[in-house]
Assembly symmetry: C2
Homo-oligomer: 336 residues x 2
DNA sequence: TTGAAAGCGCTAACAG
DNA sequence: CTGTTAGCGCTTTCAA
């Protein structure tokens, strides 16, 4: 059967006709399925290449019932955490030929629902939920969808597959670094206690100190806000008393920035008198402190990549162990 | 004709059968096309709703030759500019029912090509290119594609449709603000001259000064790097000579941060002795300076939204005026 | 006002 | 080894 193709786009019919075979054969040749003589296969492929044939993914998805497309939901439009995660997801998935629908939902449940419905209508093979806090869920329930869901850097149901940075391990590396530098009077200046990461990092701090046989007094953990200002205030408080610390582990880089500035204002030398370690490796902050900040990197891009790959496995029907996957952080040593 | 649907998904056949009409009628009823009795239309719609019918967008796209999907290409995986632009695009397009494919391409031409091909295979209706610098193109040529392309915050061919912030206007607002505050000895501390935004902001600075009848000496424009350090250095240089400025317009917020810190270290009061204005409204910087920074916001989200809407218009066959669309910036007045 | 039928471009049984 | 055929789920003439 012949059929006339008026559109500029070359279809598998064109290839089949030009190669003198049926579309079925052409399809098999191009997908490396079925069996046929190597000669035929090669010829069809050559013809396809010459014609510049590109299969219409829509048509293919329709029959295969697989769109090679996933949805990415995020509630974070300004934060610095999401972009690396998204980039990692995108990078990790393109290798599998899967594309990513980006959906920014803010904290708007209605908008989130619209996006999820749109994704489902477009037959995404799965969904990745990502956000800015590991203890706050997205404003939409994804737990009873017809497609698999993977969570990254956002709160998730217990039985879900979730990827987060290993805050404990990161904090431990930071403290170990301080200890290895000969520091013994170490304090932890961190953010609001309502954040789970604050609790995790703080308890890892305490445990690491204890297992190194170092004292950790009640006053060694100072909770405040995620701000430079709080770094300043904390230093002021610490140095207004006796017994100044010689090592400070900060809950994030902004606090560390405030701490370092405050120390300099007091002409306390970093790292000679006091060593400082941050958390996040937010380069814009960490590289601008004087001296540059030693800090913990959460490997967010890698986290995104793994989330993407886990989703692909789920979509392929492979099993992925449920629960919280804690991915290792990495200490980045600079001058502080 | 009847047909059995074993999949969980309800199709238009199910709706048609349940409503006792043909699929053609069902389709028309649901898409508000064709003519039929209001009663029939309502009944079909009600049945569809009861059954939870959601049309398969893939199948629809195949016949309509329109996927309601666009590709978003970016070379910026860490910067702060891209995320708001992307969020704006996503937000502006979901209203039209169009979804966005996110593609992070770094500076990798091969990767970029892979992504563009994948998007085309998936029959995107159009492509938006975005990046971190208005004077650097993405590592892939998009000028001869079969679908329309819109550029936002990245370098583009002359005849393209491109959206960028109006740097001149933004700079002018900043300088006008300084002048309105009674400042007369104003300098501009900015980034590397190789950036087009540096040139634009600098020339707008000079022009605004001149039209206000204020002197702008050769030494009034100081180019350096986009860093706090440079802000410090510039202040040092300025205050090592005579004739200190009473107003400083900085090329970005980081420089402004350095400037403000340096001024405080010299016990020069901001804004009493010197007013400072930044550029970018990067909240994490602008809200942390002491006092908080008055700065120029580029309205990036709105820029993204407009880019998305322009693309939709192009896809719909409407015309969009070619060339550079400069979108207004907005001065955010804080304490500096 | 409604429906039958022909596709959109591709894949996958099943025959030959 | 290759081709015929029947869909995937939806839209859209065209005829009734």
């Amino acid at each position: 059967m012949s059929r006339i193709n008026l559109s500029e786009r070359v279809t598998i019919y064109d290839v089949a006709a030009a190669a003198g075979v049926s579309t079925a054969t052409a399809s098999k040749a191009l997908n490396d399925t079925g069996r046929m003589s190597a000669e035929t296969r090669d010829r069809i492929r050559r013809v396809a290449r010459e014609l510049g044939f590109r299969p219409n993914a829509l048509a293919r998805s329709l029959t295969r019932k697989r769109s090679f497309t996933v949805g990415l939901l995020t509630d974070d439009t300004y934060g610095r955490f999401t972009l690396p995660v998204m980039a990692g997801i995108s990078e990790g998935l393109i290798d599998h030929g899967v594309s990513v629908f980006l959906c920014a939902v803010e904290d708007n449940p209605a908008l989130a629902k619209v996006h999820v419905d749109a994704m489902l209508d477009k037959q995404v093979d799965g969904i990745i939920a990502t956000g800015k806090r590991i203890d706050k869920p997205l404003p939409v329930d994804l737990s009873h969808l017809s497609v698999p869901v993977v969570y990254a850097l956002t709160a998730a149901p217990l039985e879900a597959v979730t990827f987060v940075p290993d805050d404990r391990q990161g904090a431990q590396e930071a403290v170990d670094h301080l200890i290895a530098a000969g520091r013994t009077k170490i304090v932890h200046i961190t953010g609001p206690g309502s954040f789970r990461v604050v609790q995790e990092r703080a308890s890892a701090f305490a445990e690491t100190m204890q297992s190194a046989g170092l004292p950790v007094s009640q006053a060694a953990i100072l909770q405040g806000t995620w701000s430079e200002r709080w770094g300043h205030e904390a230093v002021e408080a610490l140095w207004s008393g006796e017994n100044h610390p010689d090592g400070i582990f900060c809950g994030n880089d902004q606090i560390a920035r405030g701490v370092i500035d405050a120390l300099r204002e007091r002409t306390i030398e970093v790292p000679t008198d006091v060593s400082v370690v941050g958390f996040d490796n937010w380069e814009i902050v960490a590289e601008q402190t004087r001296p540059p900040l030693t800090t913990v990197d959460m490997n967010l891009k890698e986290l995104g990549r793994q989330a993407g790959q886990a989703l692909v496995r789920l979509v392929n029907g492979e099993t992925v162990e449920q629960g919280l996957w804690k991915l290792p952080c990495m200490l980045v040593v600079r001058g502080s």
